[in-house]
Amino acid sequence: MSTNAPVVDAHDQSISSPISARALWLGGVLTLSLLLYYFIGIDQGATSLFGQDSHIHEFVHDARHFLGFPCH
């Protein structure tokens, strides 16, 4: 049994680098998806990142209604 333990350790270490790459991929996709969700559904309605502009809101107007988001 005792001979097995170091082997397991080495295996764990060897995959530590792919794990961080994986976390980066997942975190990146999660962030960008939520950002896109916000811009398609919410921005320039209740809150607006570009001030008093409503180009995004008006352009995706029909989609916003149809996807269930609140719209004017």
């Binding site: 792919p18 790459a21 994986r22 991929w25 997942l26 996709v29 999660l30 960008l32 998806s33 939520l34 896109l36 969700y37 811009f39 398609i40 559904g41 919410i42 309605g45 209740a46 809150t47 409503s54 180009h55 008006e58 352009f59 995706v60 107007h61 029909d62 989609a63 916003r64 209604h65 149809f66 996807l67 269930g68 988001f69 609140p70 719209c71 004017h72």
Partner: protein
């Protein structure tokens, strides 16, 4: 390795959004136009009443994009990008779960996850705050409506994730069937309590003070000073069709994501799991009686 799944999920997400758009363009857009026409007619009738009462009438709002642009390129852009975003959230969940449970077959996991996303992001919030066509919804309450809608989506998604985790734990104690049922019951209870606590759209103070006590923001008949109806309430059939088609469009999108991604994930997973099998072309050439 993750990137292969991610690109495919984003692709099928955009495809799902595109198919949902085609459906929307054919079936929903006529009703969206009906709703906009209703709103225009109602505004005109309202302005007549204001004029008769000697009040000043606000000018028409300037149109930024024409209806032609909104009902074609606008809704297409919105739905494809929404599909892309949903594909992104979906694949994050897929990669997390598939790593934890490598024994679940990719296409089964993809189908189950897509169904869960449909429920959590759309169907459950819809029960409390259904999709509304143009003309339904007062512009002054958009802040309140956005807040309660996002709260409903958040609660529904988080409760669904917790229910799945709880169901997995409970299955160890009560068996798969009763463990799952208990978790489902817990989900229904949590979501029901949230729905009971969140306000109905019509009950925002802004609405009650201006429009009276109604559960929703659906326009009521417009009454003249003598109490007679000068313009009807919002047509019920338009509201129903719009909501029905909204549900169907989401089903199309999530079915596309779940099924198409499942098929692609099967192939990627097979390649990742058995890279050695490519070195044995004889095995692949042998027809299997099972297929």
């Amino acid at each position: 390795m993750e990137s292969r799944f991610i690109y495919r999920a984003l692709g099928v997400g955009a495809l799902g959004g595109l198919l949902a758009f085609v459906f929307a363009r054919i079936f929903a857009e006529p009703f969206i136009q009906n709703a906009i026409d209703y709103e225009a007619g109602r505004d005109a009738a309202q302005n007549e009443l204001y004029k008769a009462a000697g009040l000043t009438v606000d000018g028409e709002e300037a149109e930024i994009f024409s209806r032609g642009l909104q009902r074609n390129l606008g809704i297409a852009t919105g739905m494809v990008l929404f599909g892309l975003a949903m594909g992104g959230l979906f694949v994050v969940a897929y990669l997390v779960v598939s790593r934890r449970f490598p024994g679940i077959r990719p296409r089964v996991l993809a189908a189950l996850l897509a169904a869960a996303c449909f429920l959590g992001f759309y169907a459950v919030p819809f029960v409390k705050y259904p999709a509304n066509p143009p003309a339904v919804g007062h512009s002054e309450t958009i802040g309140d409506r956005s807040a309660v809608y996002l709260a409903m989506v958040g609660i529904s998604v988080v409760a669904l994730i917790l229910a799945v985790v709880a169901g997995y734990r409970l299955a160890g104690r009560f068996g798969a069937w009763y463990g799952s049922l208990l978790a489902a019951l817990g989900f229904v209870v949590v979501v029901s309590v949230a729905m009971a606590l969140l306000p109905a759209l019509g009950h925002f103070p802004l609405n009650e003070s201006q429009y009276g006590k109604h559960a929703t923001e659906t326009p009521q008949p417009l009454l003249g000073p003598d109490g007679k109806i000068v313009y009807p309430g919002f047509p019920a059939d338009v509201l129903f069709k719009f909501r029905l088609y909204s549900i169907i469009a989401q089903m199309i999108m999530w079915a596309t994501i779940g099924l198409a991604f499942g098929a692609l994930a099967e192939r990627v997973t097979a390649k990742v799991k058995a890279p050695a099998s490519a070195a044995r072309p004889a095995a692949a050439a042998t027809p299997s009686p099972a297929s």
